[in-house]
Each structure stands twice: as structure tokens, then as C-alpha cells.
Assembly symmetry: D3
Homo-oligomer: 252 residues x 6
């Protein structure tokens, strides 16, 4: 196992915003942000803000017609000026980028990993994750926020009697971790993300099991020991995010 | 001139939300809503909320290359669950609807009517109007909010010395008016808009001149006298919106 | 109310083609221009020529399935070399422009304003308005011509017994008016349209009620008094166009 | 060589419209049909009508930039209600069908076969062939009419001194022939085309050389002797069409 | 009939690869090239290689629903680096070129000419012709190879009892012929194809009847005598290709 | 750390094709598969076959113009009948799926991780990975094969003197691993992939460093210990694939 690419202990390094390497940015999960969606959440991580709306649709995709099961899916978008410089509007260009499609597939898979689709019944939970302001970590914030929006929509279905069994099996939340120079950092902002040598997006359940691990060398390949160190960081961060989800739902 | 289709005086009719026929919904124009755009405004009219971001781009469309003039343009979008029931995401469908294109062309024309494009210099002011929550009147709110976002971006260009002559010639604001039954109403919400017999979107300058008048019979044609009554209502409403614009900019 | 932007009396100004300010271009409405459409009309206004074909389709859009009502809709196109210089073919570019969509939506709404859709029964009247030669005013000519094509198609349905109640409630016709310098002009040709400060497309019924008013400042905002003067001009012009429609149908 | 599939002599068979097997439909080539195109022709063959407009563009496709040669190209379209029942508008569907692309490629190749592209200079002759009414044979009528429109545009360039050498080397014209039952027919109309066993579109020069031969078995394969009989028919028909081209241009 | 453009006897001219004018390139038809398709063939002609896969689908196009007949259709594609220099990937560009559509329509028509669609029953034979390496003649190779793939798929349907009557009425194969200088050549490779004055793609049945003849002047128009000489060459070449088809199927 | 989801030792479990849990499928890397690409490889893993062609293009993407550096990018496609049942052709549907885009982005990133783009100079290495036959693991096979194709293209550039410094810094190869029931398996085939509870695609350098880790729970979340066990398996498999790459290049 390679040793040379193992970073030294990062905990004493201060970051541009004063955080330690192992600190999340300030998190807030505001429920009821818009009034029409069955579940609506604005999740904020530092300067990153994502509006997550859950819609309950009384239909399922064609491949599930008549199967007695439901579906959970997601779409993702960035407002053109959520970013430091303006990006093209995907609707105007006439197609979603590969990045957008990759992210919305990831959000959908992550949510489905903790849903009992049979208990959901023949309906679709459609999550719309729209980035209002982007400072890194939007895909992870989308997952963490979308889970709360989905839980709110399910709560409403339980309350009005449409559902009798709760289809939500566990929490799911996500965070990015990365290697900047020799240091492992939790919850990268945009500047850190742009300059990191490698990053990993980690999606975990409330019980601490892995749902997705997406590690990518961005100019710096990394060894198994670094990966483990990064996953340790992510595990701790996700545990805090799950606490925030519970606080937002009042289930703490 | 037809008389039979002239509505009687509407001012004593109460509306679902308690307004009189001649009353605007509660308005708020929040500046600095996001941090990266050169001008950022969240405009709220009752339950309608539109985020208007102005970006300053150091380029102009091909037809203006080298002409020494600038350009002001706009794009419009609705978040899929801004509405009572979820709409398709235009980026996913792969094209903008006719309605979307019509609205963004209207916003652009309205702003350009009060801009001195030569004074703006060879740059583009790009306005992004994204509807967070839709309860009627989103195109008018977009115009009113976009003007403030544009004014903020221009103020920044003046402050950093990029501009020496202010290219903003006047305010521009917009409101919808409509005929519900025999009554002329100011500032229609979604329910009123859906049930009205005719509506007019009116765009006016601060000086009270017309920029756009878009009147449409929705099942009920209307006479010239009704049109004039509707325009009177709009004129009064727009004067109030211009006051709100001044308040938001601190120029009152 | 602003006075300074009120134009002086225009009636003594001669125009490039010798018309007075209040004169329409020579109009002709030729029926039966093509042989397969249920109603086919070539409408000519000066050099502007639009072929309006009405097709009767035994189906309705999805949102009307089983509702017992019909639908009237329109599509619009310009032949690539209908214009002074060649324009791109929209089919080759792979999409209709925002302008095209705006116009075809306008034509459809205008026609529906004078149709009893229940009397039409569960069928669609599809109007195709294709511009053979364009010298300004094509959207207005399309509306005026499409109404005649639709009336011809309805006449055929009445004659063969498919319809017993006439679903056509009134005439509908349209004309553009504009402010060139200080003068209000009726029925702008391309050169006038390009140089006007403001124009208004007006759609009215045979009874003289308004269906659509689309006024746009093109570099010159305008007061309420000017708007009224323009509408007076339009009203007179539309009355003549309705006469031409009657002449074409032999109902004068 | 197969004998069994050789048809017997067809000349005594009358057709639905009274023509003999070897007769063209009535032809007319009307020049100056629209006023803005550099060359404009309405060609009529029986009920088939195609508007052929030639535009002179002062540019060439990228692959010819700076090569000192010109280009001749074509686009083709059918008005939605040119046909017996309404077809979809290609601009609305967002793409041109395979058939449309095949036809416009054929028209372009056919014209280029009789053009000296060096003599044309660095400009493009763009032919727009739009079918006003379709009763079979539209691609052949497009070629025959487009050649006249192109010749008119060239004549104008010669007259204003833009060209000194005539780049038109010869006439080109086209006709369809087909096998209906055992009979070879010239110039198929829509009904004959739909029921024929095989058809051949033939493009020839004024000198009688072949430019394109597109023979297709539509349910009935055919022998070499039949092909020769069909080509004999086509050759005679094309000679007549070339006469009509000369008559239209006044060069007979 | 023109004489001057008739080429002299070509048989003594050697070609770049040493073939005589009347010689095919080395042919091989390898069956079972991939394992999942119901029929799979790699056809090689010199350096040209096309993978032809036949899929049996238990559905028919909408226009055949319930008609008790089947359908045979084809799609064609070139791998981006099948060619001497890389071409764009059509899936990435978002549309198939006009050439691609023309070719796949040709393959489909050619196959259907020798299929009894009623005997096929309500199913579709879908042929995918993908060019692995392109050195001219890919459309003809596709037809010749696709017929073998289709025959293999039908054989399997006969063997498992899904079909009792063989729907394959005859062989179909294709070859290109062309005029290079004054010489008629059989089976053009890419270099010959690029420099030829005219070429003809010929599709024939095993019985020697014509299915398609697509002759195109590429800079050099041609007389009837030349066409006949070219067709003689093609007829001989196709007879050899039919032998190869039989050899591949073991039916020789 | 969770213990319950740790699988027991898998090594004694036989798989459908007789492999042990830790065995790769038979691998072959055939160079020179097609003749025009600068590097051409057919990589086979069991029944999976991917054709990887490297093209050297003398241009770079716009964002690198004049930067003195090169680019390595990839495109991916599946032949429609590479799969057990036919899939739609992406070129015919008019867009690449989200999955396709995700994979081609992954291949590009993986290759770039071992390339010195400055040493490559201002040119692009374009890798086309086209799946001829798909039995699972196509994205991993694409990476492993594309690296060899790229190395062959670079070798040619070195040999002809276009490059003096070798821009290839290390090998890169990839393999999938997955959790089927309680067993960790190396190199999943299609059936295993469809039924696994979680899988990880692992991309590593020849030196054993990680380039990408993409782990996904497919119905079964997994603990850190399982992840480590899966990565151990992958590491061993990739070492063997690197051996095969060396064998193919003759550098072993």
C-alpha cells in the first residue's frame, strides 16, 4: 500500500473562512420555504443555497405501471446567476449538461436507497433541487435537503391518511471531502473544490452505511489510506447533517 | 362606441384576499438577495415571488459588435414547483415554451425602452428573472423587479468608474389589470387571472408614458371605454410600484 | 396626462406609396387559392401576401379529449425568401423562433375569441398561415385571412350537415397602427414599421369590440392620448377589412 | 435478361385525367411570382405547384472560403396543407424528415451538375423550393422550376455586371416515370405514384445526358428492359420541359 | 443518343489495388459475429467492414398496428473513426445527417422488396448496419450483409416454430459502379469514389431484377449507353455477391 | 463501524461461468483492430467487447486555444444490438442518455489523470469507445482499452518525431467489483451486475493509486469494511489488467 501519498495530520490548518479542516460550514434547513410544494426546504451551507421542493404525483413512470410500487426521482438545476460568473440557462440552450444529468441521477438513487417503494404505493415523489446560490457542494446539499423535503411530503400523506406505513426507512445525507495539498478537508467550498487535488462525494444513511462514494482525482491520484481518512471525515460530517435534518423535522 | 360592455364602478367589491378592486397586493422589493450578481432583487407581490438577477457581461450580441453600444436583455423561467401543481422543467423538455419566450422578449423590450444603450457602452446587462413562487402577475413582477436589479448593477458600474453617464433614463414598472365579470380589477392573482374575461398587462415609465400594452380577451371581448378604465387602474398601480422601486433603491 | 408626446394631426402627410396616414393598402382576399384545404385564402395587403389554409381535423388536443368541445388553433411561417433578404428556414434550424411562436399564439387566440367551441363539436380547425411575401403587417393579415379560411371551412361543414349550429359568432380582423415621428399611421408597411417609434397591433370583432391590443414602444414611449388616436385609426381600418371579408364570402 | 416482367405497350391506356401514358400534365412556368427574390418562379404541373425562389448570397459555405469558387444549394419544404390531408409542419416538429433532406440534396446536386462554380465567383445561389400544392412529382417540378429561378438570378448578375461569364452550362430538368400494373407512365400524379409498382425520377440536361436516375421498386421489381422503356419516356418528357424553360425565359 | 460520352472498353486498366475494372474487392461474410442479435454478420469488402445485426421485435410501427403484417426496417451509422479522418459522432451532434437518413431508408426499402410482410406476421425485423471501417461502398455492403443477417434471424424463427412460411422471397444484394475518366469500374473504393465522374448504386434481387438504381453525376453527366454499360457491370458483380450470401448461409 | 453488513469470505463460491469470486474474466487486448485510427484496440472481457480508437487531432477545445497544452477526451456509445435486447440508437433519438454522458466524462477524466498535457502539445487525443458486445463492465473495459489505444497513438507521434517527451505518465485501468448477497465479486458480468446489492467501479494507476472510485448501493447499503474488501479485490484485478496492457504493447 502506498505511503508517500498519505497526507499529514490536517487538523491545525485554518481555512479561508476560519474553519478547521474537520468543520462543516454553518448549516440551516428552513422548512416551508415555498407554499405549494408538498414539502419545501431551503438548505444553506455557508454561501451555498439550494431550494428542494417535493411534489407528490399520482402517477408512476411507464416501467412501473400497475406494479403496485412507487417511485422517487429528482431533477437538478442551477439558476444562471447562482454562480460567481453567469452560466448559460439550460432551458435556453435546449439541453441539460452531462454534469446536470449526472447529479440528478445521483440524487434520485440516493433517495431511493432509503425508501420502501412498495410502502409508498403507486405514486411518485418528485424532488426538484434548484440552486439559488452556489459556493461548492451543491449536489451534496441537494441530497441532504431533498431528503427533508421528501420526509415532509410523506408526513403530509401519513397525516391525511393516504399512507399508513411510513416508506422512509432511514435518513440519507451527503457531504464532500477533499485533499487540498496534503490536507484532508471536510465540506469544500467553491475555491477549495477548484484547487483540490482529489475529492470524494459521500452519501450515507442515518445508520452510517454507505450509499454512494464518488471519488475523483483532480490532478492528484490518491492512496487507499487517504481515501480512508477522507471517509472518516465524511462520516463525522454526515452524522452532524443528520442531526440538522432531525432538528428541521422536529424529531430530535 | 359600444356602451353595453362597459362595467359599472367596481371600487366597493371585496376580493378573496380582502383587497378592493383598485388595490395592489402587498409589495416588497428585497435587494441583495443573492451575493454574486451585480444586482439582485427578490420582488414579492402577495404570494408571487420572482428572483431578478442582473449580470454585467463584457460582450454584446453579434449584431452590435463594434457599434459602440450596449445591450439589455432578459431570460425568464419558472421553477417547476413554483406553481400550484408541478410543471415540466423546460431544460429537461429541451425547449422553452412559446409563453416563456414571449415573456422574456417583453421584459427585454421594456427595460431597453428606458436605457440609453450608447451611454451603457459595449457591454450587456443580462437580467435573469426566475419565478420562485407563482400566484399570477409573474411577468409584470419580473419587469418591476428587473428594473431595480438593473439599476443596482448600473450603480455599481458608476461607483467603480466604469460608467460616467448614467444610462438609466427613467423607471419602468408593470402591472396586470383585468375584467372579472363586470368589474375592473388591479393586480390579478392566479385565481382572478384564470377566471377573468379579459386582461391587460401594462408597462409604463416613471413619467407615466406607455411602453407596452398587451390586452387580451379571454372569452370576453371588451370596448374602448373598458380599456380606458383598465388603463386608469394600471396607471395608478404603476405609480405605486415606482414608489416601491425608489424605496428599495433609497432614492425616495 | 402627458401632452408633449401627442402627435399633431397627420392626415395631410403623404406616405412613400402615396397613401394618406389613414389609408389601408390595397386589399384583396382571394378564396379557393389551393384545392385541398377545407378553406383556402390568399390575402394581399399591398405587397404583403399570406396564404391561409383551414384544415378540419377529427381530433382535439389531449386536454379536450371527451369534453364535447372543439378547438381552433394556428401555425405561422414565413417562406425563407418572402422577405427582402433571405431568412433562415425554421425547419432547417430545428426550431421556431420566439417571434413565430408569439404570432401563432396570437392568431389562435384571436380566432377562438369569436368561435363557439361547443357548437364546433369535437373537432379542430387548424389554420396554417404561410407568408408568401412580406412587406409588414403579416400577423394582422394572417388573422384577417385566417378568419375567412375558417369561415369557408365551417360553411362546408354546415353544407354537408356535419354542423347544424354555426359556431362563428362574429368577424375578427386585425391591423397595425404606428407612430412615425409625430404622425399616427394606419397599416404600416415594412419600411414604416422599421422606422416607427411605437406600434400597436389591434384585433377587433365585427361588432367593434377589442380582442387583442399589443402596443409596443420601439424607441419612443407614448401617452394615453396617442394610444387613443391610434386605436381610432385601427377601428376605422378594421371596419374596412371586415367589409372585405364579407365581400370575399359573398355575405355583403 | 428477364422477359416476364416486361410490360406490354402502354400507349393506348387512358389515365384518370384523360392523358395518354406518354403525356405530361399541363405545364406552366410563371416568372416573377414574388418580388424580392433575385429569381422567382411558380411552376405548375397539373395540380402540383411549387414556388422556386433563387437568392444570391455574398458568402460561401465554410469549406469553400477563399477558394475562389461559388456554390449552388437548395432547400425544400411542403406547406402543411399542400397535401390532401394536413401534414405536420417541420419547423414545429423541430426537424426536417429524411424525405425532405433527400429531396433538397437531390435538387442541389442536380443544379450543380450544370453550373460552372468557378465562373459563378465567391457567392452562393440558394434555391428555396416550397410546395404550395402537392399532387405528385414535387421533387421533379422543384428541379425544373429551380433551374429557371437560378437562370433568372444569373441573368440579373450578368446585367448588372457582377458576372461577365455565364456560369450556366446547360439546362437541367426532371420528371418521374413509373410502372403501374404493366404500363409505363410519364409524369405520375399522386394517385398513380401511390399505386405504382416502381418509379424512376430522372434528371437530365438539355443535351440529353443523365444527371440523376433514382429508380425504386415499390412492391414490384423490374427488369433492365423496363428500365430502358421508362428512361425513353422520361427523355421525351424532359425534352418538352426544357422547351417550357426556354419559353419562360424567352430564349426559345 | 449521345456518343461522345461513351467510355471505351475498360477491362485492361489496372487499378490501385491491382484489380481489373470488372473485379469485386475480396468479399467475406462472417456469420455469428456478435452473440445476442438474432442474426449477426460482419461483411468485408476490401477494407470496408460493416456489422449487420438483425433484431426480431414483437411489435410493429403504429401505422401497422393490428394489420396482421410485419415490417422490415433499418438503421445505419458510421463509427466516428471508421473513416480516414475522424467524423463527428451523430449521437453527440444530436441528429443524423441527411446522408445517414438517405442510406437507412434505402436499406429498409431494399430489404422489404424481397420480403413477404404478411408471412412475417406482426413483428419487426430491425436491421442495424454499423460501419466499423469505411473504404467506400458502405451502403451497398450494408444491404448485402443485412440480407444475410435477416435471413439468419428468419431461419431461427422457422426453427423454433414461430414462423411456418418463409417470408424471404429472394436474395437482395447491392454494388456500386462508377465512371472514372472514361472507364467503367465495378465496386469503387473510397479513392475511386472520390474521383469518379459519376456513380451508380445498384440493388438487385437474386433473380436479377432491379430493386433500386441510384445514379448520380459527380461532375460528369453520362449518356444512356454508359448507364447500360455500368448496369451490366453491376449485374455481374451482384451475381457474385449473391453466391457469397449463399456460401455464408450454407445454401450454395 | 457496522459489522452486520460485512460479507463472509467469498473465495470458495463458484460463479455461473465457473470463475471464483476473485477471478477476472478472460481478457484480450487486440491492437490494430481497425486501420485508420492512430491507435486502435479491441478489448475483450468475457463476452464484453469494446472497440477503442484513438484519433490525433491538430486542434484543442476553445478554452485551451493558445495555452500551449493539449487535451485528452473521450466519447462512448453502444451499438444498438450490443445488448441482450435491442436498445434505441442514440443518434436516432437525437441525444445521448445521461448514462452515456456520465461514462464518457469518466473515461476522459481517467485518461487525463495519467497524461502530461503540456508534454502532449497543442493537440487533442480523442478516444472513441464503442461497445460491440455488452455483458457488463463496459465502462471499465473502455478505460482499460482506451489507455492502450492512446499509448499506441502517442508511440506513433514519438516515432515520427512529433513528440519528443512521452506525455504518458503511467498506466490507468479499471474494473468493477460488487456485492452479490454476502459475497464480494471481481469483474461483474451483466447478470451479476443486475442482481448485485452494491457495486464499485474502480480506476487505478499502474502505481496503484486511485483515480476514481464510484460506489453505488443498488438496494443494499454497505459498510466501510465491505468497501475496503471490494477495493482490495479491485486492486488485484487492476494489477492483472495493467499486465495485459503491457503485454499488448510489448512492454512487459
Amino acid at each position: 500500500m502506498p505511503i508517500s501519498n498519505t497526507p499529514s495530520s490536517p487538523t491545525h490548518n485554518a481555512r479561508a473562512d476560519g474553519r478547521t479542516a474537520t468543520q462543516l460550514r454553518p448549516v440551516s434547513i428552513q422548512t416551508g420555504f415555498t407554499r405549494y410544494a408538498e414539502g419545501s426546504v431551503l438548505i444553506t451551507l455557508g454561501h451555498t443555497q439550494v431550494l428542494c421542493n417535493a411534489s407528490v404525483l399520482d402517477k408512476v413512470p411507464p416501467f412501473l405501471k400497475g406494479a403496485g410500487r412507487g417511485w422517487v426521482t429528482a431533477e437538478y438545476g442551477m439558476l444562471p446567476r447562482s454562480t460567481h460568473t453567469r452560466s448559460d440557462r439550460e432551458a435556453a440552450r435546449g439541453k441539460q449538461s452531462g454534469r446536470t444529468q449526472e447529479i440528478q441521477r445521483l440524487i434520485g438513487r440516493s433517495l431511493r436507497a432509503v425508501f420502501d417503494l412498495e410502502a409508498l404505493g403507486e405514486r411518485t415523489l418528485h424532488l426538484d433541487c434548484d440552486v439559488i446560490q452556489a459556493d461548492g457542494g451543491t449536489r451534496c446539499a441537494s441530497i441532504t435537503g431533498a431528503w427533508v423535503a421528501a420526509a415532509l411530503a410523506v408526513r403530509r400523506l401519513m397525516q391525511d391518511g393516504s399512507l399508513t406505513t411510513n416508506p422512509v426507512l432511514d435518513h440519507v445525507a451527503a457531504v464532500s471531502v477533499g485533499l487540498v495539498g496534503e490536507t484532508c478537508l471536510l465540506d469544500l467550498d467553491y475555491t477549495e473544490d477548484s484547487s483540490c487535488g482529489a475529492d470524494v462525494n459521500v452519501v450515507m444513511t442515518g445508520a452510517g452505511n454507505l450509499v454512494e462514494v464518488q471519488g475523483t482525482a483532480e490532478g492528484q491520484t490518491f492512496g487507499r489510506r487517504t481515501l480512508n481518512e477522507l471517509l472518516d471525515l465524511a462520516e463525522a460530517g454526515i452524522a452532524q447533517l443528520v442531526e440538522e435534518q432531525k432538528r428541521a423535522l422536529g424529531t430530535l
